[in-house]
Symmetry: C2
């Protein structure tokens, strides 16, 4: 075992250093997502390229391990934990209320994209891959799903940076991408079920597909309902332990368990992880859990992407390059047409439809995980895995400039998310003499709420808005210049005012103590004077001066 | 591979939940170290107890894997990364200057403890274990080392909570424990070297032992010198990347690499990890790295301890219980006599000697890791591994009350660490009207220093003292009630005064803006008045009131 552990330490060490450096270089120097850098690092140092070079007595650092996965089970295990973590945090960050609020338009747009992309992806595979002769072939189905899942990370960051995230297009893209993920994960469950039957030599009848789909949707619904009912009770119990750290670690443990259970139920691990995240996303501690789990993700997720990159066998990819390009064109059309056309029918003009189509272009984590599952279960080969990675790379590199370009030139109306969220809420305003005073008051107010057991998190995509939450009570605090605004539901207005009062009294005590103090100018003058005085006074060691 | 990954997710999920709950229970409810709870959780749910129970179609959750380690390589790999992390942070937290300052007394005390414990441990094994007939038998040597390494964590926490950490006894214990760790890790290198020769069937001549020892010490010295020279340059380069996160992740990558390299050099992995930690401990970003790596440790370290607990085979332990108790008595005498007697000769009275002896009693991580290395390389069996775990459990449970009792009743003089640190430093004092104002000023001052590229960390064992550091410039900030003290070397006094000035000017601007504002009383009164007013005014939705 000692030799395996030594190899693991060396491999992990090299991966961490290389993936982090590449990720940094891609994001800071090339303006590309970090993920791409990590993926490329893995492709370059993996068992098919640099990793194969023998290093003296050690031999190759990444020897090709036989089987469908070319790395050791120890390393792949750590990458797998990374993928569970990734989907758990995706679930945690999903804003179900936003999704529900924009569900109408988003459903039309999302479904359009999913259906067109899935059938284009599968159909292209049937057309151009001689080994595949039916849309029901597991390989075709997998390539369909790979083309389906939008990676919202890239688009969300661009929208957030250009302050378009609460535009009608922005909100629709976000909600459609959530739907996207859910549908492609459910699709994956169904396809894995079909493939299991098909690989075992059985014929896939429509009846058995129905059974598999029912099982997948059943597991999904059962877990979601149980999760959403249990998560708030569970976190309430765990909060009694008075350690948010322990709460976060146990939540991640539950995500791993649910991941294992969903694999046992014949679905993919990431489904359980995603459901666990969705369940906890509705609790008041979601932000705290997310922050703590993400700290681990900083180490595990780059390992996952680098290991995914290592699976790209360039020799296998060479023979399939033309197919890859055609597949990519199909993936492009699938989203532009699949999401853009329906958008035209739900109130967007041509410009809006184009924005939505390009915003849905990037493929990412989910596509890669789906491809990895296909590879490890032997459904797709190294060549098709390479096509998936190629799609992710091309889409991620090509999409950002297109999204930026499409969002130029302001058309039409803008209803902001915040206004919508504020329906039926009362806003209390307090004017302060300076931004700094307002910020100081904000900190005292936040401390006061924390003292009452509230959790505070920055509202996604905003710089100066915070959600203050304890179980079902939700308040929103904003700072606009030197003004603080605290919004609460009508029935919680009195409580909000009392909390403000408390902080004001506290604030006043502080202001009074400042008024009573020696003039800061005097202290400053003293500081300078003594500076010169002490130059002539070097008699003893630890000398104390004012 | 899919089945292995499913098992890994289920096992890790159960371990995280159980270990965290047990750790919490032990620390919050029983007042014991968390580590013990994690270890016990592993013992109970491991392959020799609950883990062996078949769970329906899944089979046992923790089936006994054949070979010296009863868990899967995937799980053991994650535990191994946890042990590397643990020793890396131990190195990071080692305060080399403290160690050097108290090196005289500590060397005498530490060496005494190491020598007596090592020989007692090895000798007891020769006496009572029929399979071992010489002190040079690898098994005897391993049991010697297991008895050697003090776990400073438990003692340090008790000393810190009772504010004895800077007493002469406290400082001596801390420094001796550092020496302890270093010596037992070097000893481990030598013993692993000897065992490799011996297991390969060669006779261990004194000449070859000398060669092994020379190689171990050589690797150690080489890495230490290289590390201490390179780490500051490396961190200086990495700081240009402007991401402390990336810096921490790359540092941990380097620790993994060094761990792998030291295993390649025939030493144990933890040696490389510890050296990497020691090297970075001398850089200005040590605190930042430690904090970020520890966030991952919260997940990985419990897995390590739980997996160690899983290796305890109770059946093997039953037959060796008497030996275990005798070994424990020897381990107890080894430290009480080995550290206490020398302490009498370097200026401590009987009370002080007893304090130092009991303070050195706890055995912990290092002992367990050493035992794990012995088990995985086949040098010791399940029975002796059980003895090591038993020693750790007994010493950790028994030591804390003894340490607390021995430190009761104040004898003699107390020279504090801080005073000592302050030799040749100038202290600038600023008096504020209240603790809160002083704290406010402290925050502005900290921000000002951070703006200049300084790193700030709380000084170990203190609540209101901070180290402000940038490369070679070190300042110490303390808050005593409403007074701030900033200490700097004579040649940096002018710089320190200018920074204070800058913060004071900033502070004054803030105070002025407070003076100019509307009376907080008025704002408060308004808040209350409007509260009643708005009760009658529920006409429209988002209504804004002051």
């Amino acid at each position: 075992m000692a030799h395996e552990m030594m190899m693991l330490a060396l491999q992990l060490g090299v991966i961490l250093v290389a993936a982090k450096l590449c990720g940094w270089f891609f994001s800071r120097k090339l303006g590309q997502p970090k993920v791409l850098g990590e993926l490329v690092a893995g492709m370059v140092m993996g068992p098919y390229v640099l990793g194969a070079i023998p290093l003296g007595a050690l031999g190759p650092l990444f020897p090709v391990v036989s089987g469908s996965i070319p790395v050791t089970p120890e390393l792949y295990g750590i990458a797998t934990v990374g993928s569970v973590l990734l989907l758990f945090t995706s679930g945690l960050e999903t804003d179900l209320p936003t999704f529900l609020r924009f569900s109408g338009k988003a459903t039309v747009v999302g479904l359009g994209g999913v259906i067109i992309s899935f059938f284009l992806g599968a159909w292209i595979t049937v057309l151009f891959n001689p080994a595949v002769d039916s849309l029901m072939d597991p390989e075709a189905l997998f390539l369909g799903i790979i083309s389906t899942a939008t990676s919202i990370g890239i688009t969300a960051r661009i929208l957030s940076e250009t302050r378009k995230i609460s535009s009608p297009e922005g909100v629709t893209i976000l909600a459609a991408a959530v739907l996207d993920d859910v549908i492609s994960i459910i699709l994956l469950s169904v396809v894995v079920g079909i493939s299991t039957v098909s690989l075992a030599g059985g014929t896939v009848a429509w009846g058995s597909i129905g059974a598999v789909a029912l099982k997948a949707v059943g597991f999904w619904v059962l877990c979601m309902v149980a999760g959403i009912l249990l998560a708030p009770r569970l976190t309430k119990q765990m909060k009694r332990m008075e350690s948010l750290g322990v709460l976060a670690e146990i939540s991640f443990g539950i995500a791993l368990l649910l991941a294992g259970l969903s694999e046992m139920a014949g679905l993919a691990m990431i489904i359980g992880a995603y459901i666990a995240g969705l369940s906890f996303s509705q609790t008041d501690v979601a932000g705290e859990i997310n922050e703590r789990v993400n700290a681990v993700g900083e180490y595990l997720v780059p390992v996952f992407f680098a290991v995914m990159g290592m699976m790209v066998d360039f020799k296998a990819l060479g023979s399939i390059l033309v197919f890859g390009l055609i597949y990519n064109v199909a993936a492009f059309i699938g989203k532009i047409a699949g999401c853009g056309l329906p958008a035209l029918f739900v109130g967007f003009n041509l410009k809006g439809a184009l924005r939505i189509g390009t915003g849905m272009l990037p493929r990412g984590e989910v596509a890669l995980i789906v491809a990895g599952i296909g590879l490890s279960s032997g459904i797709i080969g190294n060549d098709m895995f390479g096509v998936a990675v190629m799609t992710m790379l091309l889409a991620s590199v090509a999409a950002p400039p297109m999204i930026l370009a499409s969002f130029k030139g302001g058309s039409g109306y803008r209803e902001t998310l915040v206004t919508d969220e504020m329906q039926g809420m009362v806003t209390i305003e307090l004017q302060f003499p300076s931004e700094r005073t307002a910020d100081f008051m904000r900190h005292s107010l936040a401390d006061a709420f924390r003292g009452e057991g509230f959790f505070i998190r920055t509202i996604e995509g905003s710089v100066r808005a915070w959600q203050i939450r304890k179980e079902e009570t939700v308040l929103i605090l904003r700072r606009l210049g030197a003004k603080l605004e605290l919004s609460a539901k009508k029935e919680q207005e009195a409580y909000a005012r009392l909390m403000l009062m408390e902080s004001l009294v506290d604030f006043q005590e502080f202001a009074d103590s400042l008024r009573s103090m020696q003039e800061p100018e005097m202290m400053g003058a003293n500081l300078l004077m003594r500076m010169f005085a002490s130059q002539h006074d070097e008699t003893e060691g630890p000398n104390k001066v004012q």
